[in-house]
Symmetry: D3
Subunit: 127 residues, 6 copies
């Protein structure tokens, strides 16, 4: 997949989930997430807008990048602050630049917000 390949080339490791629900579950149990890249229209109920809101509840400073071919105009009302939206089709360099730029603008490593996390979820994967 192009997007992951671009990130690996830039030195990033990636975790991929097939639905918004799975991504949100992963965010709750994975303390080492450094950025979220999400499509808007996902399998099942949750949209990329939902995933990003949940991600920011858990990691208040998390860089968020939306990629979409159809929902760009909703960003102004549905996106989170300080996020970027990249329209498809995109070039590989847009993705690595976006992630790097947002990470470099973050003063510190995003830290989990314990008050919003499910109890214990950062130590043990959920069953």
């Amino acid at each position: 997949m192009d997007l992951e390949h671009a990130l690996h080339d830039g030195g990033y490791a990636t975790l991929t989930e097939v639905s918004g629900e799975a991504a949100m579950a992963k965010l709750e149990t994975e303390p080492n997430v450094r950025a979220l890249i999400t499509d808007i229209n996902l399998k099942n109920e949750a949209s990329g807008w939902d995933v990003a809101r949940r991600a920011r509840e858990l990691f208040p400073d998390l860089p968020v990048i939306y990629v979409t071919s159809v929902a760009a105009e909703e960003w102004t009302s549905q996106g989170v602050p300080r996020s970027l939206l990249i329209q498809k089709p995109f070039a590989a360099a847009q993705i690595t630049t976006a992630v790097s730029q947002l990470l470099n603008a973050t003063k510190a490593v995003p830290t989990p917000n314990p008050s919003k996390a499910n109890s214990g979820s950062f130590d043990q994967p959920r069953s």
Copy 2:
């Protein structure tokens, strides 16, 4: 009221509504809105987060400023892009500077987004 007084001193006219629901109704019938300033915890159901999302659906480039004493930490997940959050208590100059700065960064007068508005609502007040 301090906030309105500050805006009038800066040369702005204001429209005030007592609930989020009333503010959203006003936004649908009032084509000349240039910025939204909203508290987070409002009378009734709708929060300031809801009002701002609806405002941006109607006016995609509308400057949005949240003022709050209790909900600042939710801004990162609930705020709209390119918005500002001002914590209470604030100084009058913070409000006029925030509105002016966001207006000056907007390339053009915010224009209603006709596809999202209720039919006819920009010409006639709703009953």
Copy 3:
């Protein structure tokens, strides 16, 4: 006049010229200019776009603000870098905030660019 009144209230002194040609002549003989505010459609030939280009030749870091009711869409192709465009009608606070914000972002007092000025023009008004 509203615009000048707003600037005086903010602690600024103003020089006003009635045409683009007069403004450009003034810029060449006046070393203490700190910012330019110009309408686009001016008396005579020169437009506000022309005045701003000449001003930036003379003072490379000069804050530039355009105010206009009719030519806003031309800013993207005719404006100078790091300028602001304010649409009429505007509130007084937009003007003082714009000038202050641009001045505060300038690292040093704008200095005349001697290589572009007419010889001797900073000491003596031109005949």
Copy 4:
């Protein structure tokens, strides 16, 4: 050529013209342009400053990057708003970062401005 090679490596496709006049003609007939990179001193009459102004008339939000070894100081008076100037010699990464950063800051795919285009020119190459 270094610049094009850098862009291709970043996942971008390029169109190259040998003069400013040819570039401006291409811009009028090519609706899929996403960014302009131009030298300042070009063959024939038109300069890079001219090409960028024409490009922005046609595509108001188009990312514009100037590359030059000799004319950098003119950018402040001759460049278009929200453009970048890269001095020669440059590193490949400067070009891909500049294009990606400007594209990612653009809310939507740059769309042609039909009112400024020659009639019909977006459908058929000009003879």
Copy 5:
């Protein structure tokens, strides 16, 4: 004094100290500071550069504004990140805009950094 008058007009309260040493002592015992405005050349040993560094150790997100007529060129090597430098003479609006702009860009009320404060100093004025 002009600077304080401008701030009071904008709705701000001010604390003034006559030396850098006194300002640093005040910062250690005063948890409600929201911004620092400092001249560079101060009475006694400590400079404005020193005061700002100490202020940021105590309040990591504190807005910092330097005002100076003589030391502007040192800002690039001696200033703290995300600070502003305003050259004297300045207009009143520059000060209120600078403070307001920096406060509005701060996500939360600046909180004291307890690990850097002297023990107990936030509860009791020092003798």
Copy 6:
């Protein structure tokens, strides 16, 4: 070394010094430096904070990037204005994006500040 490899891949050449003292000596004799990347905790006395301050005295507009695993929280009080801090571990793309972004935001090639340099040091390596 990862960091240098990333820069070379992006088209940059690098000079490496093993201590802060050596880096500062190099900066005084090397007029072609375009950016500084420094760790905070260095061999010997001088820290990365010291190196960056000296670098900015010599080259007022020099892009500065700090990389560190332990001293990130000191950046707010010890960093220079308009610098970036990248936390270790970092991805290669963060470094090339950071350097490129800061270089592209600099209006001109950083020029040595002759008044701060040791006499003659830009022509001849020091003995």
